[in-house]
Amino acid sequence: MTVTRQISILSEGNFSTTVITDMVREAVKSSGVMEGAARVYYKHTTGSVLVLEYETGILVDLEDMLEKLAPAAGDYVHHVRRYDANGAAHLCSALLGVSLSVPIVNGDLGLGYFQEIVVLDMDPVRKERTIIIQVDGD
């Protein structure tokens, strides 16, 4: 059985984070799937979906690390079109990935005690963002 759900969040970008664990858990519970996997897919190219401990220090450290790899104010070839200036957000998104899979065990997400499913939006623009949750299993 596969059950697909689409959710939206209003994100301010600029390294905004949103915990979506409970939304994914609700999708799993309502699907009736007891054993399988939940795929979470961020439908954009300037953000990411991650499993991490949702702690302020980790977010600050993650932002600092990504700033070293791809400075937000850097000069990127992506900007030559002059359509937008979010090259850093695209690179960070490519590095971190836009999807993940969490096992479903006994009808619930098989997450560890500190693990949260978090959407990270690095785009400089505030927008509505879409996430697809697909629950697979029996």
């Binding site: 209003l10 301010e12 600029n14 390294f15 905004s16 984070t17 949103t18 915990v19 949702y54 702690e55 302020t56 220090g57 977010l59 600050v60 932002e63 505030r126 927008k127 509505e128």
Partner: protein, 204 residues
Amino acid sequence: MAAIKSLIFWVSGVVTPALTGLTTAALPQQGSRIDADVWFGLLDLARELAAGTISESDYCEEVVARTSSPITGAELSAAIEQAVAPSPDMFPLYDEIKDLCRLYLLVDLPERWFAPLLRDARFAQTFSDPGAILRADRFGVKSSLELPITLAHSGLFDNQATLLIDADPRRAMQSTRAGLYAPIFVDAARLRREFVLWGLLPST
């Protein structure tokens, strides 16, 4: 960091549901336009209101105008006053922590919408000390987004022994960068887990 002695709770988003959510819920569902752009605009207005840059009546009039709602600003203000209440999930946590740390409220709601919280006997008992109530609009900032740095450098708190509980992740990161650690509030259960990690509460 030293042992934690003070906990500061932002009111909107932690003690009560966030003002933007309270506002949109108080608007008539029929005839009000609330798309993403409008919602982000309401968020900015709430931050200006928190800082005291605009008044409660200006906020309501502006919300009604931006959402094209078929009510008056005065009616919206009354509806928010009726709706605002302390989040019940937080009471067990206040009870558990109040004798271990000094609790403060960082009030980012106008007086009219904060007063109903103090009419709740259990809430009023928890925050009965008048010195525990800090108004966000006393700091002379233009938006509540600017408050973390001002508060961190105010000298009002020992930053090394204080946690500022904040539901706004970006603002919490700014606070932490300024030296005043701010756990991000998601819900009471997760906040309790954070207090356990800080050694404030035993794990269950």
